[in-house]
Protein backbone atom coordinates (compact mmCIF):
# COMPACT_ATOMS: atom_id res chain seq x y z
CA UNK A 1 0.00 0.00 0.00
CA UNK A 2 2.88 2.35 0.86
CA UNK A 3 6.14 1.67 -0.91
CA UNK A 4 9.48 3.46 -0.38
CA UNK A 5 11.88 2.82 -3.23
CA UNK A 6 15.49 3.62 -2.39
CA UNK A 7 14.64 7.00 -0.88
CA UNK A 8 17.32 9.44 0.27
CA UNK A 9 16.90 12.96 1.59
CA UNK A 10 19.93 15.22 1.43
CA UNK A 11 20.21 18.83 2.51
CA UNK A 12 21.78 21.43 0.29
CA UNK A 13 24.26 22.54 2.96
CA UNK A 14 25.86 19.08 2.92
CA UNK A 15 24.81 18.09 6.44
CA UNK A 16 24.28 14.41 7.15
CA UNK A 17 21.40 13.03 5.10
CA UNK A 18 18.03 12.76 6.85
CA UNK A 19 17.28 9.53 5.00
CA UNK A 20 19.66 7.19 3.21
CA UNK A 21 18.57 4.55 0.74
CA UNK A 22 15.38 3.67 2.57
CA UNK A 23 13.36 0.87 1.00
CA UNK A 24 10.40 -0.81 2.65
CA UNK A 25 6.71 -1.37 2.15
CA UNK A 26 3.61 -1.37 4.26
CA UNK A 27 0.77 -3.76 3.48
CA UNK A 28 -2.90 -2.89 4.01
CA UNK A 29 -4.18 -3.30 7.60
CA UNK A 30 -0.69 -3.43 9.04
CA UNK A 31 0.26 -1.64 12.27
CA UNK A 32 3.83 -0.45 11.80
CA UNK A 33 5.84 1.28 14.51
CA UNK A 34 8.95 3.21 13.57
CA UNK A 35 11.45 3.71 16.37
CA UNK A 36 14.79 5.44 16.64
CA UNK A 37 16.65 8.27 18.33
CA UNK A 38 15.78 11.88 17.66
CA UNK A 39 17.13 12.83 14.26
CA UNK A 40 17.07 9.27 13.00
CA UNK A 41 14.72 10.31 10.19
CA UNK A 42 11.38 9.04 11.51
CA UNK A 43 9.47 12.30 11.04
CA UNK A 44 11.02 12.93 7.62
CA UNK A 45 9.75 9.54 6.59
CA UNK A 46 6.19 10.34 7.65
CA UNK A 47 6.31 13.78 6.02
CA UNK A 48 7.08 12.10 2.72
CA UNK A 49 3.95 9.99 2.95
CA UNK A 50 1.75 13.09 3.36
CA UNK A 51 3.71 14.96 0.66
CA UNK A 52 4.98 17.58 3.11
CA UNK A 53 8.56 16.77 2.17
CA UNK A 54 10.20 15.55 -1.05
CA UNK A 55 12.89 12.91 -1.45
CA UNK A 56 16.16 13.98 -3.06
CA UNK A 57 16.53 10.55 -4.62
CA UNK A 58 14.04 7.71 -5.03
CA UNK A 59 10.26 7.51 -5.08
CA UNK A 60 7.43 7.01 -2.63
CA UNK A 61 4.28 5.26 -3.82
CA UNK A 62 0.77 5.16 -2.49
CA UNK A 63 -0.54 2.05 -4.20
CA UNK A 64 0.48 2.80 -7.81
CA UNK A 65 0.56 6.58 -7.34
CA UNK A 66 3.93 8.37 -7.17
CA UNK A 67 3.20 10.74 -4.26
CA UNK A 68 5.66 13.39 -5.33
CA UNK A 69 4.29 13.65 -8.82
CA UNK A 70 0.82 14.56 -7.66
CA UNK A 71 -0.03 18.02 -9.06
CA UNK A 72 -0.39 20.69 -6.37
CA UNK A 73 -4.07 21.13 -7.04
CA UNK A 74 -4.68 17.42 -6.37
CA UNK A 75 -2.76 17.29 -3.09
CA UNK A 76 -5.71 18.18 -0.84
CA UNK A 77 -7.77 15.28 -2.20
CA UNK A 78 -4.80 12.93 -1.74
CA UNK A 79 -4.30 14.08 1.85
CA UNK A 80 -7.92 13.33 2.66
CA UNK A 81 -7.13 9.63 2.22
CA UNK A 82 -4.69 9.86 5.10
CA UNK A 83 -5.50 10.66 8.70
CA UNK A 84 -2.72 12.40 10.61
CA UNK A 85 -2.02 12.58 14.33
CA UNK A 86 0.85 14.62 15.78
CA UNK A 87 2.71 14.94 19.04
CA UNK A 88 1.48 18.54 19.42
CA UNK A 89 -2.11 17.60 18.48
CA UNK A 90 -2.45 20.37 15.88
CA UNK A 91 -6.03 21.20 16.73
CA UNK A 92 -7.59 24.42 15.48
CA UNK A 93 -7.58 26.53 18.66
CA UNK A 94 -10.67 28.58 17.83
CA UNK A 95 -12.84 25.59 17.12
CA UNK A 96 -14.53 23.23 19.57
CA UNK A 97 -13.76 19.51 19.62
CA UNK A 98 -16.85 18.88 17.52
CA UNK A 99 -15.94 21.61 15.03
CA UNK A 100 -12.36 20.36 14.77
CA UNK A 101 -13.59 16.93 13.77
CA UNK A 102 -16.33 18.38 11.56
CA UNK A 103 -13.78 20.60 9.80
CA UNK A 104 -12.05 17.57 8.31
CA UNK A 105 -15.39 16.44 6.91
CA UNK A 106 -16.33 19.92 5.66
CA UNK A 107 -12.99 20.20 3.89
CA UNK A 108 -13.83 16.85 2.33
CA UNK A 109 -17.11 18.20 0.99
CA UNK A 110 -19.32 15.90 3.08
CA UNK A 111 -22.97 16.75 3.58
CA UNK A 112 -24.36 18.22 6.79
CA UNK A 113 -26.30 15.02 7.43
CA UNK A 114 -23.13 12.93 7.26
CA UNK A 115 -21.36 15.36 9.57
CA UNK A 116 -24.19 15.24 12.08
CA UNK A 117 -24.00 11.47 12.06
CA UNK A 118 -20.28 10.69 11.81
CA UNK A 119 -18.72 13.29 14.11
CA UNK A 120 -20.53 12.05 17.24
CA UNK A 121 -19.61 8.48 16.27
CA UNK A 122 -15.94 9.39 15.95
CA UNK A 123 -15.99 11.30 19.24
CA UNK A 124 -17.72 8.37 20.86
CA UNK A 125 -15.06 5.97 19.56
CA UNK A 126 -12.41 8.02 21.39
CA UNK A 127 -14.71 8.31 24.41
CA UNK A 128 -15.21 12.08 24.30
CA UNK A 129 -18.98 12.41 23.81
CA UNK A 130 -19.26 14.76 26.80
CA UNK A 131 -16.44 17.10 25.71
CA UNK A 132 -17.71 17.76 22.19
CA UNK A 133 -18.37 21.47 22.81
CA UNK A 134 -15.16 22.25 24.68
CA UNK A 135 -12.39 24.26 23.06
CA UNK A 136 -8.90 22.70 22.92
CA UNK A 137 -7.58 24.89 25.74
CA UNK A 138 -10.27 23.40 27.99
CA UNK A 139 -9.07 19.82 27.35
CA UNK A 140 -6.22 17.78 28.86
CA UNK A 141 -3.36 16.55 26.68
CA UNK A 142 -4.84 13.06 26.40
CA UNK A 143 -8.24 14.47 25.50
CA UNK A 144 -6.74 16.74 22.84
CA UNK A 145 -4.93 13.79 21.31
CA UNK A 146 -8.17 11.81 21.27
CA UNK A 147 -9.90 14.69 19.45
CA UNK A 148 -7.03 14.64 16.95
CA UNK A 149 -7.52 10.89 16.47
CA UNK A 150 -11.27 11.35 16.01
CA UNK A 151 -10.51 13.97 13.36
CA UNK A 152 -8.02 11.63 11.68
CA UNK A 153 -10.49 8.75 11.43
CA UNK A 154 -13.73 10.59 10.72
CA UNK A 155 -13.28 10.51 6.96
CA UNK A 156 -12.57 6.77 7.09
CA UNK A 157 -9.06 7.11 5.68
CA UNK A 158 -7.08 4.18 4.36
CA UNK A 159 -4.10 5.06 6.55
CA UNK A 160 -3.46 6.76 9.86
CA UNK A 161 -0.08 8.44 10.21
CA UNK A 162 0.80 9.11 13.84
CA UNK A 163 3.98 11.07 14.61
CA UNK A 164 4.90 10.56 18.27
CA UNK A 165 1.24 10.54 19.28
CA UNK A 166 2.08 9.77 22.90
CA UNK A 167 5.12 12.05 23.15
CA UNK A 168 3.38 14.66 25.31
CA UNK A 169 1.14 12.38 27.30
CA UNK A 170 1.25 10.85 30.78
CA UNK A 171 1.27 7.03 31.09
CA UNK A 172 -2.48 6.67 31.48
CA UNK A 173 -3.28 8.89 28.52
CA UNK A 174 -0.59 7.07 26.54
CA UNK A 175 -2.25 3.75 27.31
CA UNK A 176 -5.63 5.07 26.20
CA UNK A 177 -4.30 6.50 22.94
CA UNK A 178 -2.51 3.26 22.08
CA UNK A 179 -5.66 1.26 22.81
CA UNK A 180 -7.64 3.53 20.50
CA UNK A 181 -5.05 3.20 17.71
CA UNK A 182 -5.17 -0.58 18.09
CA UNK A 183 -8.93 -0.53 17.96
CA UNK A 184 -8.82 1.53 14.75
CA UNK A 185 -6.32 -0.90 13.27
CA UNK A 186 -8.54 -3.83 14.25
CA UNK A 187 -11.37 -2.13 12.33
CA UNK A 188 -9.21 -2.35 9.19
CA UNK A 189 -7.24 0.89 8.94
CA UNK A 190 -3.49 0.79 8.31
CA UNK A 191 -1.54 2.60 11.05
CA UNK A 192 2.01 3.93 10.76
CA UNK A 193 3.31 5.36 14.02
CA UNK A 194 6.63 6.71 15.22
CA UNK A 195 7.49 6.58 18.88
CA UNK A 196 10.20 6.78 21.52
CA UNK A 197 8.22 4.87 24.03
CA UNK A 198 9.48 1.38 24.77
CA UNK A 199 6.38 0.44 26.73
CA UNK A 200 4.15 1.35 23.80
CA UNK A 201 6.08 -0.88 21.40
CA UNK A 202 6.21 -3.81 23.74
CA UNK A 203 2.49 -3.54 24.34
CA UNK A 204 1.44 -3.41 20.70
CA UNK A 205 3.45 -6.48 19.65
CA UNK A 206 3.35 -5.69 15.95
CA UNK A 207 5.88 -4.89 13.22
CA UNK A 208 8.71 -2.57 14.32
CA UNK A 209 11.08 -0.72 12.00
CA UNK A 210 14.18 0.62 13.73
CA UNK A 211 15.99 3.58 12.21
CA UNK A 212 19.39 5.02 12.95
CA UNK A 213 21.13 7.87 11.18
CA UNK A 214 18.65 7.90 8.29
CA UNK A 215 18.88 4.18 7.61
CA UNK A 216 16.62 1.27 8.43
CA UNK A 217 18.69 -0.97 10.71
CA UNK A 218 16.06 -3.52 11.79
CA UNK A 219 12.64 -4.59 10.54
CA UNK A 220 10.99 -7.16 12.82
CA UNK A 221 7.57 -8.69 12.24
CA UNK A 222 6.59 -8.70 15.91
CA UNK A 223 9.28 -6.51 17.27
CA UNK A 224 10.51 -5.40 20.59
CA UNK A 225 12.09 -2.06 21.25
CA UNK A 226 15.78 -2.61 20.63
CA UNK A 227 18.25 0.24 20.46
Amino acid sequence: MIYFDNVSKLYSDGRAAALQEVTFQVAPKEFVSIVGHSGAGKTTLLKMIIAEDKPSVGQVFYESLDIHRIPRGKLPSYRRKIGTVFQDFKLLPHKTAFENVAFAMEANGRSDAEIAENVPQALSLVDLDDKAWNFPHELSGGEKQRVAIARAIVNQPDIIIADEPTGNLDPIATYEVVQILRKINDLGTTVIMTTHNKGVIDEIERRVITMDDGRIVRDDATGKYVL
Partner: protein, 306 residues
Amino acid sequence: MITGLRRVTKAGFVGFWRNAYVSLASIFVLTVALFVIGATMFINQLLNVSLSALQSKVDINVYFVPDAPEDEIERIRNAVATLPDVSLVSYTTREEALQQYRERRQGDEISLQALEELDENPLGGNLAIQAKETSQYENIARFLDEQRAAAEPQTPVIDVINYDQNRDSIDTLTGVIDATEKASLIVMSILLIAAVLITFNTIRLAIYTSREEIAIMRLVGASNMFIRGPFMLQGIMYGFIAGLLALLFFYPLLIWLGPRTELFFELNLFTYYVQNFGTIFGILVGIGVALGLISSTLAVARYLRT
Protein backbone atom coordinates in the same frame (compact mmCIF):
# COMPACT_ATOMS: atom_id res chain seq x y z
CA MET B 1 -20.53 24.23 -4.24
CA ILE B 2 -23.34 25.99 -2.37
CA THR B 3 -22.56 23.97 0.75
CA GLY B 4 -18.92 25.00 0.43
CA LEU B 5 -19.87 28.65 0.06
CA ARG B 6 -22.17 28.48 3.06
CA ARG B 7 -19.44 26.82 5.16
CA VAL B 8 -16.85 29.37 4.11
CA THR B 9 -19.25 32.18 4.98
CA LYS B 10 -20.05 30.68 8.36
CA ALA B 11 -16.38 30.03 9.11
CA GLY B 12 -15.64 33.66 8.18
CA PHE B 13 -18.21 35.04 10.62
CA VAL B 14 -17.27 32.62 13.40
CA GLY B 15 -13.58 33.41 12.93
CA PHE B 16 -14.39 37.11 13.05
CA TRP B 17 -16.07 36.78 16.46
CA ARG B 18 -13.69 34.31 18.03
CA ASN B 19 -10.69 36.43 17.05
CA ALA B 20 -12.43 39.55 18.31
CA TYR B 21 -9.23 41.32 19.43
CA VAL B 22 -7.45 40.73 16.16
CA SER B 23 -10.57 41.79 14.24
CA LEU B 24 -10.87 44.91 16.36
CA ALA B 25 -7.25 45.88 15.80
CA SER B 26 -7.55 45.36 12.03
CA ILE B 27 -10.77 47.37 11.85
CA PHE B 28 -9.23 50.15 13.91
CA VAL B 29 -6.20 50.48 11.66
CA LEU B 30 -8.33 50.23 8.54
CA THR B 31 -10.65 52.92 9.91
CA VAL B 32 -7.72 55.26 10.49
CA ALA B 33 -6.47 54.56 6.97
CA LEU B 34 -9.89 55.22 5.45
CA PHE B 35 -10.22 58.36 7.57
CA VAL B 36 -6.96 59.62 6.12
CA ILE B 37 -8.17 58.78 2.62
CA GLY B 38 -11.51 60.52 3.26
CA ALA B 39 -9.84 63.58 4.75
CA THR B 40 -7.59 63.72 1.70
CA MET B 41 -10.68 63.69 -0.49
CA PHE B 42 -12.31 66.51 1.45
CA ILE B 43 -9.19 68.67 1.44
CA ASN B 44 -8.85 68.08 -2.27
CA GLN B 45 -12.43 69.17 -2.77
CA LEU B 46 -11.85 72.33 -0.72
CA LEU B 47 -8.77 73.18 -2.75
CA ASN B 48 -10.59 72.57 -6.03
CA VAL B 49 -13.55 74.72 -5.09
CA SER B 50 -11.52 77.59 -3.78
CA LEU B 51 -9.12 77.48 -6.71
CA SER B 52 -11.93 77.51 -9.24
CA ALA B 53 -13.61 80.32 -7.31
CA LEU B 54 -10.38 82.26 -7.61
CA GLN B 55 -10.10 81.37 -11.29
CA SER B 56 -13.61 82.57 -12.06
CA LYS B 57 -12.67 85.98 -10.71
CA VAL B 58 -9.99 86.34 -13.36
CA ASP B 59 -10.95 87.45 -16.85
CA ILE B 60 -9.79 89.48 -19.83
CA ASN B 61 -11.82 92.45 -20.89
CA VAL B 62 -11.95 93.81 -24.38
CA TYR B 63 -13.21 97.40 -24.57
CA PHE B 64 -14.54 98.49 -27.94
CA VAL B 65 -14.42 102.06 -29.20
CA PRO B 66 -17.80 103.81 -28.71
CA ASP B 67 -18.58 103.90 -32.42
CA ALA B 68 -17.52 100.35 -33.18
CA PRO B 69 -19.93 98.83 -35.69
CA GLU B 70 -22.24 96.24 -34.14
CA ASP B 71 -21.55 93.55 -36.75
CA GLU B 72 -17.81 93.84 -36.20
CA ILE B 73 -18.27 93.40 -32.45
CA GLU B 74 -20.50 90.42 -33.14
CA ARG B 75 -17.83 88.91 -35.39
CA ILE B 76 -15.08 89.21 -32.77
CA ARG B 77 -17.38 87.93 -30.07
CA ASN B 78 -18.19 84.82 -32.08
CA ALA B 79 -14.57 84.27 -33.02
CA VAL B 80 -13.52 84.40 -29.37
CA ALA B 81 -16.34 82.15 -28.26
CA THR B 82 -15.25 79.40 -30.64
CA LEU B 83 -11.69 79.32 -29.25
CA PRO B 84 -11.17 75.98 -27.47
CA ASP B 85 -9.59 77.57 -24.40
CA VAL B 86 -12.49 79.92 -23.71
CA SER B 87 -15.12 78.87 -21.22
CA LEU B 88 -17.34 81.94 -21.08
CA VAL B 89 -17.80 85.16 -23.06
CA SER B 90 -20.23 87.80 -21.88
CA TYR B 91 -21.00 90.92 -23.89
CA THR B 92 -21.94 94.21 -22.31
CA THR B 93 -23.49 96.70 -24.75
CA ARG B 94 -22.77 100.44 -24.68
CA GLU B 95 -26.11 101.13 -23.02
CA GLU B 96 -25.58 98.47 -20.36
CA ALA B 97 -22.10 99.80 -19.71
CA LEU B 98 -23.55 103.28 -19.17
CA GLN B 99 -26.22 101.89 -16.90
CA GLN B 100 -23.63 100.01 -14.85
CA TYR B 101 -21.47 103.12 -14.66
CA ARG B 102 -24.40 105.11 -13.31
CA GLU B 103 -25.17 102.48 -10.72
CA ARG B 104 -21.59 102.34 -9.58
CA ARG B 105 -21.42 106.12 -9.21
CA GLN B 106 -24.71 106.45 -7.39
CA GLY B 107 -24.40 109.43 -5.05
CA ASP B 108 -21.27 110.69 -6.79
CA GLU B 109 -22.93 113.86 -8.13
CA ILE B 110 -19.86 115.24 -9.84
CA SER B 111 -19.32 112.19 -12.01
CA LEU B 112 -22.98 111.96 -12.87
CA GLN B 113 -23.10 115.66 -13.74
CA ALA B 114 -20.05 115.28 -15.95
CA LEU B 115 -21.87 112.50 -17.73
CA GLU B 116 -24.91 114.76 -18.25
CA GLU B 117 -22.68 117.40 -19.85
CA LEU B 118 -21.84 115.00 -22.67
CA ASP B 119 -24.20 114.76 -25.58
CA GLU B 120 -23.71 111.09 -26.16
CA ASN B 121 -22.69 107.95 -24.33
CA PRO B 122 -18.88 108.06 -24.03
CA LEU B 123 -18.60 104.37 -23.23
CA GLY B 124 -18.08 101.50 -25.62
CA GLY B 125 -19.32 97.95 -25.28
CA ASN B 126 -17.01 95.34 -23.82
CA LEU B 127 -16.45 91.59 -23.75
CA ALA B 128 -15.55 89.74 -20.54
CA ILE B 129 -13.71 86.51 -21.42
CA GLN B 130 -13.00 83.64 -19.04
CA ALA B 131 -10.57 80.89 -19.89
CA LYS B 132 -10.83 77.28 -18.75
CA GLU B 133 -7.32 77.46 -17.28
CA THR B 134 -5.53 80.57 -16.11
CA SER B 135 -2.52 79.57 -18.18
CA GLN B 136 -4.58 79.98 -21.36
CA TYR B 137 -5.11 83.72 -21.03
CA GLU B 138 -1.92 84.40 -22.86
CA ASN B 139 -3.18 82.60 -25.98
CA ILE B 140 -6.49 84.38 -25.87
CA ALA B 141 -4.78 87.75 -25.47
CA ARG B 142 -2.58 86.99 -28.46
CA PHE B 143 -5.62 86.10 -30.52
CA LEU B 144 -7.30 89.35 -29.57
CA ASP B 145 -4.18 91.31 -30.48
CA GLU B 146 -4.27 89.72 -33.92
CA GLN B 147 -7.90 90.76 -34.28
CA ARG B 148 -7.00 94.31 -33.37
CA ALA B 149 -4.10 94.40 -35.84
CA ALA B 150 -6.32 93.04 -38.60
CA ALA B 151 -8.74 95.93 -38.36
CA GLU B 152 -8.38 99.04 -40.56
CA PRO B 153 -6.03 101.50 -38.86
CA GLN B 154 -8.36 104.43 -39.67
CA THR B 155 -11.41 102.79 -38.14
CA PRO B 156 -10.28 100.89 -35.04
CA VAL B 157 -12.79 98.62 -33.35
CA ILE B 158 -10.96 97.50 -30.21
CA ASP B 159 -9.93 100.22 -27.84
CA VAL B 160 -8.21 98.42 -24.97
CA ILE B 161 -7.41 94.81 -24.04
CA ASN B 162 -6.69 94.72 -20.33
CA TYR B 163 -4.60 91.55 -20.32
CA ASP B 164 -1.33 93.43 -20.10
CA GLN B 165 -2.44 95.27 -16.98
CA ASN B 166 -3.62 92.04 -15.37
CA ARG B 167 -0.74 89.96 -16.59
CA ASP B 168 1.32 89.91 -13.40
CA SER B 169 -1.52 88.92 -11.15
CA ILE B 170 -2.69 86.27 -13.62
CA ASP B 171 0.82 84.82 -13.81
CA THR B 172 1.13 84.78 -10.04
CA LEU B 173 -2.22 83.07 -9.68
CA THR B 174 -1.30 80.49 -12.30
CA GLY B 175 1.88 79.74 -10.39
CA VAL B 176 0.08 79.46 -7.07
CA ILE B 177 -2.56 77.13 -8.51
CA ASP B 178 0.05 74.91 -10.15
CA ALA B 179 2.15 74.71 -7.02
CA THR B 180 -0.86 73.98 -4.82
CA GLU B 181 -2.04 71.20 -7.08
CA LYS B 182 1.39 69.61 -7.26
CA ALA B 183 1.98 69.85 -3.51
CA SER B 184 -1.41 68.43 -2.65
CA LEU B 185 -0.88 65.58 -5.11
CA ILE B 186 2.46 64.68 -3.50
CA VAL B 187 1.18 64.93 0.07
CA MET B 188 -1.91 62.92 -0.74
CA SER B 189 0.04 60.21 -2.56
CA ILE B 190 2.33 59.82 0.44
CA LEU B 191 -0.62 59.64 2.84
CA LEU B 192 -2.40 57.14 0.63
CA ILE B 193 0.65 54.90 0.27
CA ALA B 194 1.22 55.01 4.02
CA ALA B 195 -2.41 54.12 4.72
CA VAL B 196 -2.33 51.21 2.30
CA LEU B 197 0.98 49.85 3.63
CA ILE B 198 -0.12 50.06 7.26
CA THR B 199 -3.35 48.24 6.44
CA PHE B 200 -1.46 45.56 4.54
CA ASN B 201 0.89 44.97 7.43
CA THR B 202 -1.79 44.88 10.09
CA ILE B 203 -3.80 42.29 8.22
CA ARG B 204 -0.63 40.36 7.48
CA LEU B 205 0.12 40.24 11.20
CA ALA B 206 -3.46 39.24 11.95
CA ILE B 207 -3.15 36.31 9.57
CA TYR B 208 0.38 35.54 10.80
CA THR B 209 -1.24 34.54 14.09
CA SER B 210 -3.29 32.02 12.09
CA ARG B 211 -0.40 30.45 10.18
CA GLU B 212 -0.43 27.34 12.37
CA GLU B 213 -4.13 26.95 11.71
CA ILE B 214 -3.59 27.29 7.98
CA ALA B 215 -0.92 24.58 8.13
CA ILE B 216 -3.30 22.31 10.04
CA MET B 217 -6.11 22.93 7.55
CA ARG B 218 -3.79 21.91 4.74
CA LEU B 219 -2.80 18.73 6.56
CA VAL B 220 -6.44 17.81 7.02
CA GLY B 221 -6.81 18.09 3.25
CA ALA B 222 -8.69 21.37 2.94
CA SER B 223 -8.42 22.89 -0.53
CA ASN B 224 -6.75 26.28 -0.86
CA MET B 225 -10.02 28.01 -1.62
CA PHE B 226 -11.63 26.44 1.43
CA ILE B 227 -8.81 27.79 3.61
CA ARG B 228 -8.60 31.17 1.93
CA GLY B 229 -12.34 31.84 1.80
CA PRO B 230 -13.01 32.68 5.45
CA PHE B 231 -9.98 34.98 5.61
CA MET B 232 -11.09 36.78 2.45
CA LEU B 233 -14.56 37.21 3.92
CA GLN B 234 -13.07 38.57 7.12
CA GLY B 235 -11.01 41.03 5.10
CA ILE B 236 -14.17 42.20 3.39
CA MET B 237 -15.93 42.55 6.74
CA TYR B 238 -13.04 44.55 8.20
CA GLY B 239 -13.15 46.90 5.22
CA PHE B 240 -16.92 47.28 5.30
CA ILE B 241 -17.12 48.02 9.02
CA ALA B 242 -14.11 50.33 8.87
CA GLY B 243 -15.72 52.22 5.98
CA LEU B 244 -18.91 52.71 7.97
CA LEU B 245 -16.95 53.81 11.04
CA ALA B 246 -14.94 56.34 9.04
CA LEU B 247 -18.19 57.75 7.60
CA LEU B 248 -19.60 57.92 11.11
CA PHE B 249 -16.58 59.79 12.46
CA PHE B 250 -16.73 62.33 9.66
CA TYR B 251 -20.31 63.27 10.52
CA PRO B 252 -19.76 65.21 13.78
CA LEU B 253 -16.40 66.43 12.59
CA LEU B 254 -17.92 68.00 9.50
CA ILE B 255 -20.87 69.48 11.39
CA TRP B 256 -18.26 71.33 13.39
CA LEU B 257 -15.96 72.12 10.46
CA GLY B 258 -18.64 72.96 7.88
CA PRO B 259 -19.37 76.60 8.81
CA ARG B 260 -15.67 77.28 9.25
CA THR B 261 -14.75 75.94 5.82
CA GLU B 262 -17.60 77.95 4.34
CA LEU B 263 -16.12 81.16 5.73
CA PHE B 264 -12.67 80.49 4.44
CA PHE B 265 -13.06 78.33 1.32
CA GLU B 266 -16.58 79.22 0.21
CA LEU B 267 -17.61 75.54 0.51
CA ASN B 268 -19.54 74.12 3.43
CA LEU B 269 -17.96 70.68 3.79
CA PHE B 270 -20.89 69.35 5.78
CA THR B 271 -23.31 70.27 2.98
CA TYR B 272 -20.93 68.67 0.51
CA TYR B 273 -20.80 65.51 2.67
CA VAL B 274 -24.58 65.28 2.89
CA GLN B 275 -25.18 66.04 -0.78
CA ASN B 276 -22.57 63.57 -2.03
CA PHE B 277 -23.13 60.95 0.67
CA GLY B 278 -23.75 58.17 -1.85
CA THR B 279 -20.48 58.76 -3.67
CA ILE B 280 -18.47 59.20 -0.48
CA PHE B 281 -20.03 56.06 0.97
CA GLY B 282 -19.18 54.15 -2.20
CA ILE B 283 -15.60 55.37 -2.27
CA LEU B 284 -14.75 54.82 1.40
CA VAL B 285 -16.53 51.49 1.82
CA GLY B 286 -15.34 50.36 -1.61
CA ILE B 287 -11.71 51.19 -0.86
CA GLY B 288 -12.04 49.57 2.56
CA VAL B 289 -13.48 46.35 1.16
CA ALA B 290 -10.91 46.23 -1.63
CA LEU B 291 -8.03 46.91 0.78
CA GLY B 292 -9.24 44.28 3.24
CA LEU B 293 -9.84 41.70 0.57
CA ILE B 294 -6.54 42.23 -1.25
CA SER B 295 -4.47 42.34 1.95
CA SER B 296 -5.98 39.18 3.37
CA THR B 297 -5.75 37.30 0.09
CA LEU B 298 -2.07 38.22 -0.27
CA ALA B 299 -1.35 37.43 3.38
CA VAL B 300 -2.91 33.96 3.23
CA ALA B 301 -1.24 33.20 -0.09
CA ARG B 302 2.12 33.18 1.73
CA TYR B 303 1.10 30.22 3.84
CA LEU B 304 -0.56 28.31 1.04
CA ARG B 305 2.59 27.95 -1.02
CA THR B 306 4.12 24.56 -0.57
